[in-house]
Amino acid sequence: MAVITYLEAISQALRDEMRRDDNVILLGEDIAVFGGAFKVTVGFLDEFGEDRVIDTPISESGFTGAACGAAVEGLRPVVEFQFADFIACAFDQIVNYAAKNYYRWGIPMPVVFRGPAGGGFRGGPYHSQNPEAWFTHVPGLKVVQPSTPYDAKGLLIAAIRDNNPVIYFEHKHLYRRIKEDVPDEDYVVPIGVADVKREGTDLTVVTYGAMVHESLAVAERLSREGAECEVVDLRSLCPLDRDTFLASVRKTSRALVVHEAQLTGGFGGEVAAIIAQEAFDVLDAPVTRVGALDVPSPYAASLEDAMLPTEEKIYTAAKNVLEY
């Protein structure tokens, strides 16, 4: 066991899997010679060579298509988007090819599409997005978002070993800000299983990604005021572990769904609808969501702070639900 950052956990997962399985290859911009824009793949080129750690041109659609072709040939590519925002350029390759290939002609697509998503560091509109909802809507794709170093490593290993195409969004703001004791030996966080990060009896907060940490901070604050929140970290959006959050809502009767992505059309709507439909008769308050304002990520600090869900906004929403 060693205490490592979220970023180091991702790096370890990639390295361990590349050592374990020669078929695992990496493609992305600046990942080989430069070691990755965020230094996730420092040292990989030396260890694994240019056949397995491939610097690509700035052509997301092209290298994503190439990765899919490699998967058809039996390789297990991990594609890095330097910023998750750029995945939009590869949208067609992912949703029309990778997602549907197995359905269409029985050839699996064991490709992982990963990249740093999320804002809060004044990156502006093209370096701060949370695009998960574009992909949760597409049958044939798995979508995961770890919030801790332990989950980040375990989920990435699971994603690489999965024969389905997996979208893996890491949150760049968590890269070096959180550390955790993570096992050195082989382990997996199964895809499709949520994790109760904090137990409670008064309010269920269903969340994922960076908002897990904001939600836990709100829970601590509310605990001092006498209300105990249960924080459920989804970890996987697709497939979704409904049983865990529904069981939680049956215990607390109150639900708050929190994500950093924009509110409208965000994945929180899916979770809220499931709760309202499946747990209607145990609800003591309306199911409520917190998300970013429906605006592009601003560059100006004060505007970005106004747009993003903050601890304060989550706290206010939680209080409203608790006091309903």
Binding site: G120, F280, L293, D305, A306, E311, E312
Partner: protein, 445 residues
């Protein structure tokens, strides 16, 4: 804002003169700090400030004389300035938006706030939220699914629900309100009410000197209330039979130890009677019912209440074995043991004491022949067991000694008659007198 007035320094004093102001306008003032000096007919004195703040106005000058009670100055309390311009009310100027350092957490105002509140907290507008939570005294009639489900599970009527004061927004009744009400009903006293009018005076006792007056405990009051109401609601009648318990006694002698070892709970007369009574209730459903208006409402399951007396408080509590018709003898023995343990350690939940349909009580533990129990509303029958006593009885024209137990069934005469009551008791006795003297194997238990 506080108005400082000319104080009255003595009963007969009607006016005072300001000699000297010890503070000037704009000075800050501590509470109890001397503010001005006055002279009156009787005394010269300093007058202290009643609160901390800033002296913002002097209304009466030095040397002036005014009546008692006349305002002489104004103090504005600390924090008042800040409050008037707080971000919670009204809009800040647009110049506040876009400050260069923009710390995470500072919230700019204007249209962003309006948009954010409708988007982020989509079900409640700003103006409503500003009111804050309040426990209104107006009962609410809009109940959430959780509230209705909890009330239903605990046997609480909609009428009662409608009388609850809610702690939720706008006085809404919450699930917690319902749970707390039920727990309160189960454990604390209700106020006695004499809604049927006070009894005539000649039936009431007037305490005398020498009498020792003991205030009723909470538990006693609760029992008094329930028993009074129960006899008022239902015409009570009691049917009594005698039962030969020799088969039961032999079974307990032969198989009791093995039963306890195998099942983890003792084989008792209570468990045996419970099983027999529940079986008989399957045939005599009108004894597992409630009277509602001019209907007798039969219940699909037997939820058997077993009366337990708590030693320290003397409280009678009746935990319930739900769906008793599905239990085996082992099931009864285990449930009876578990509920008694939890009752005595005060670990029963509201659900444990709700929803009973028939009660079994055991006055026999005090050694008597039997008792005439009072109905546990809203049930229509209650079975009391007497002590098991060895007595001479006549069997096949000869006298022999048998362990005999009396059973008394008190019933609501609106719902049943003596015939049904005696037939029920006869069925219970039949079962008890036909018990095997051993179990073929413990799985039959």
């Amino acid at each position: 804002m506080i108005e400082i007035v000319m104080p009255q320094m003595g009963e007969s004093i009607a006016e005072g003169t300001i000699i000297k102001w010890l503070k000037k306008v704009g000075d800050s003032v501590d509470r109890d700090e001397p503010l001005f000096e006055i002279t009156t007919d009787k005394v010269d004195t300093e007058v202290p400030a009643p609160a901390a703040g800033t002296l913002t106005e002097i209304l009466v000058k030095e040397g002036e004389t005014v009546d008692i009670g006349t305002p002489v100055a104004v103090i504005t309390e600390s924090g008042e300035d800040v409050k008037a311009a707080s971000p919670g009310e009204g809009m800040q100027s647009k110049a506040d938006i876009g400050q260069p350092d923009g710390k995470k957490g500072d919230e700019p105002d204007g249209h962003f706030r309006a948009a954010q509140s409708s988007q982020v907290i989509s079900f409640r507008r700003e103006s409503e939220k500003a009111d804050g939570p309040s426990a209104s005294t107006t009962p609410s009639h809009s109940f959430s699914p959780a509230v209705l489900k909890t009330a239903e599970r605990c046997g609480m009527s909609l009428d009662t629900l409608a009388t609850l004061r809610g702690s939720g927004h706008g006085g809404r009744v919450t699930k917690r309100d319902v749970e707390q009400y039920i727990l309160q009903q189960a454990t604390s006293p209700l106020e006695s009410d004499n809604s049927a009018g006070s009894p005539p005076k000649e039936y009431l006792y007037q305490p005398q000197d020498g009498d020792e007056r003991i205030q009723m405990s909470a538990v006693r009051k609760k029992i008094a209330r329930h028993m009074s109401w129960s006899t008022r609601i239902s015409p009570h009648a009691t049917a009594i039979v005698e039962c030969d318990m020799s088969q039961a006694a032999e079974l307990m002698e032969t198989a009791g130890q093995r039963f306890e070892a195998s099942v983890g709970a003792p084989l008792t007369y209570t468990a045996l009677v419970a099983e027999a009574a529940v079986k008989a209730l399957g045939e005599f459903r009108a004894l597992n019912a409630s009277v509602v208006g001019d209907e007798i409402v039969l219940k699909p399951s037997v939820n058997l209440g077993i009366a337990v007396a708590l030693p320290e408080s003397g409280e009678l509590i009746v935990p319930v074995i739900r769906k008793a018709e599905e239990r085996s003898l082992a099931g009864f023995a285990k449930s009876i043991k578990e509920l008694a343990v939890r009752a005595r350690s005060h670990r029963l939940t509201p659900e444990d004491v709700q929803g009973g349909t028939f009660t079994l009580t055991n006055p026999g533990i005090f050694g008597g022949l039997t008792g005439t129990p009072i109905l546990n509303q809203p049930e229509v029958a209650i079975l009391g067991l007497g002590a098991v006593i060895k007595r001479p009885v006549v069997v096949d024209e000869a006298i022999t000694i048998r362990p005999v137990m009396m059973m008394s069934l008190t019933f609501d005469h609106r719902a049943s008659d003596g015939m049904a009551a005696f037939q029920f008791l006869a069925r219970v006795r039949e079962h008890l007198e036909a018990l095997p003297t051993d179990f073929a194997d413990m799985t039959n238990a």
